[in-house]
Assembly symmetry: C3
Homo-oligomer: 272 residues x 3
């Protein structure tokens, strides 16, 4: 575990339309005026915990060691789910125990998970509907200020995990799915470059999605003619379907959860 560095990131589904996010920042700065705050996004699809876990996964590693990542996508606020914090190898996390941190815990199985119980680190009045303000923001502030994770409550070993969709490889097929549409309309799958290369090797292949067939992988968007569909490995090394200077999501009519299939050729790899 590394010491906190004073940085707090925020990821929520609150949008920036209301004062909710500003209020959380106020709470943090009251407790720790030197905190440096960075938004990751506040536009997670409302109440989509799996999406929150994927967004977090895409971003947190790039922050300095000792950053506290506050993630509040919390459809069960006020109910039975526990508030937790996680002290990982290099990063801290704070949020509801609803699966948000599945990917973090997958990649850092020795991380310390603590159930937040100590009232002295929370706001005096705890509403039933806004734990982001009353519980998670103050805990993030105290963590960033240097309070040891163990101070907040007892360690727990049964943090909730989500079923993250993983691609299946059988015979000459990889069957993945669309896990995200980004703001450019790029269709992002759960098939990683490494999985693809291990299964396909030097053989030919076809990528199939919603009746569309693509038979090669480009390196950049620009290699394809403007307006044409292509497949490439994006910035998280996941297979992505794009349209050069266009929106693949509209062209192909794809959405989250749609199947994306790699059909691998039987014969020897064709010369490409």
């Amino acid at each position: 575990m590394v010491p906190a560095c004073g940085l707090v990131t925020l990821t929520t589904d609150f949008s920036l339309t209301d004062s909710y996010v500003g209020t959380m920042k106020g709470v943090i700065l009251r407790i720790f005026p030197e905190a440096r705050l960075v938004d990751i996004t506040h536009q997670v699809t409302p109440q989509d915990v799996l999406e929150a876990s994927l967004v977090l996964e895409g971003g947190y590693r790039f922050f300095p060691a000792g950053t506290v990542h506050l993630v509040v996508v919390d459809p069960s606020v006020g109910g039975m789910r526990r508030p937790i914090l996680i002290a990982g190898r290099e990063h801290y996390f704070v949020g509801p125990d609803n699966g948000t941190f599945t990917r973090v815990l997958d990649s850092d199985p020795d991380a310390l998970v603590v159930e937040i119980q100590e009232r002295r680190f929370l706001l005096p009045n705890i509403s039933d509907t806004f734990h982001g303000r009353d519980i998670f923001a103050p805990v993030a502030a105290f963590l960033a200020r240097g309070i040891a994770p163990e101070e907040f409550g007892p360690a727990v070993r049964d943090a909730r995990r989500l079923q993250v969709p993983v691609p299946r490889i059988w015979g000459d097929q990889i069957r993945g799915e669309v896990i995200h549409i980004d703001s450019f309309g790029n269709i992002i799958s759960n098939i990683s470059r490494e999985q693809f290369q291990r299964a396909v090797g030097d053989r030919g292949f076809r990528v199939l999605i919603n009746g569309k067939i693509i038979d090669r992988i480009h390196r950049t968007y620009e290699e394809q003619e403007q307006g044409r569909t292509l497949a490439l490995f994006g910035s998280s090394d996941l297979l992505e379907i794009a349209v050069a200077e266009g929106r693949a999501e509209r062209r192909i009519g794809a959405g989250k959860g749609d199947t994306i299939l790699i059909q691998i050729d039987e014969g020897p790899a064709p010369v490409r």
Copy 2:
């Protein structure tokens, strides 16, 4: 009055599409490079001064004492409305004198209100269309840097107030109205928990909105089955109509200004 703490919040109807907000931040940082800037929201409904005053009310108290709150929703920019600053018990405010600060002044009637007149605290060229950049941002920066409020101009006693809609209680009814739809689609009324409890006590009641009837108050969203409508007191302790994991605004077709009625039972309070 407490000394400025170096923090400036920003609330506007400028959205983040243009460079307007960025420009204001540049102006502040030129005058006071150590300023710490926090956005509350830039998505107030364009030119809706009442909404700005409600958003500000929901957020400002959570910030550290000595914070400067810059609020620019200014349909009459360049016209006769005065630029003002307010030095309250714990917070400072800067913006046009158009009613934005109604709720602040209601809750802090002894606050000092100053008409901004001193040209040396403004940008040298003042446009007719962007006082956020030319007047309010520099004044916020100088205030946050520690210039005394009195330096900016004469005190005034007639700051403009808006008619804020208040619920009416008569006989066995509370008649409130919808004052906000939040980004989750929750319908927020102007009926506070305290007003409700004082009028209803232990008696039964029905909440009526757009033909929909709700006969109990839940504590959390999660207590209701997914997709069903409920009433609860939200994070600002105002009565709110929600749909568990859904959007109440769409379900009920309600908008700002709609009536929300509490019909209180005549008989003794039913066992609940």
Copy 3:
């Protein structure tokens, strides 16, 4: 050239829906933890380099001397376009060499332009699709930390320029065009106050756009009756068509690239 002041602004077309912007900020803060970060906008129309150059133009001058402006609107990411940085009289700029900095170079022709080549200032793995994270963010961080511009690579003299639409004045006409619709729906042309005054002088005139005729310039939005169309010079001193407390873009049905014509009267200037 002035020394870097530790401030970095960000302008992109990434929107705030994904973690892309947050990731870039993480990269900057890993390299330079004391960096102060300010968003200009992340809602440039996707892949619209000309719009990025206009947004930047509108905002950068208001920031302190020594600010680093990171601008990533990069449809050719991974292709042949060079990554560059610019050291101007008062400001630094980092981004792809695709015309983004046309207006900066127009107004500061002696600025030093450097092609970014030094690998030690970049992330170790450079993706083909996200140079904002892998090249531009780290370079902005090192520049803001005080590394001299010359350290990043060789000076170049052929930075790419865009054809920026300029108004044409012939005889009794000024023919300009719409270059931006702002978030209030105001229609902003490329005709500056200075160009207008020089061509029109004291004479009468009519502004024509999409069949609409306006025969005077107002000073403020408020001078016109609510809901009526007006022309004025906006906060960047460009001629703008607005609707008092409304959206001119919808009323007039105008979009970027539409012609806006000033027809100047032949006779002596009418008394107004």
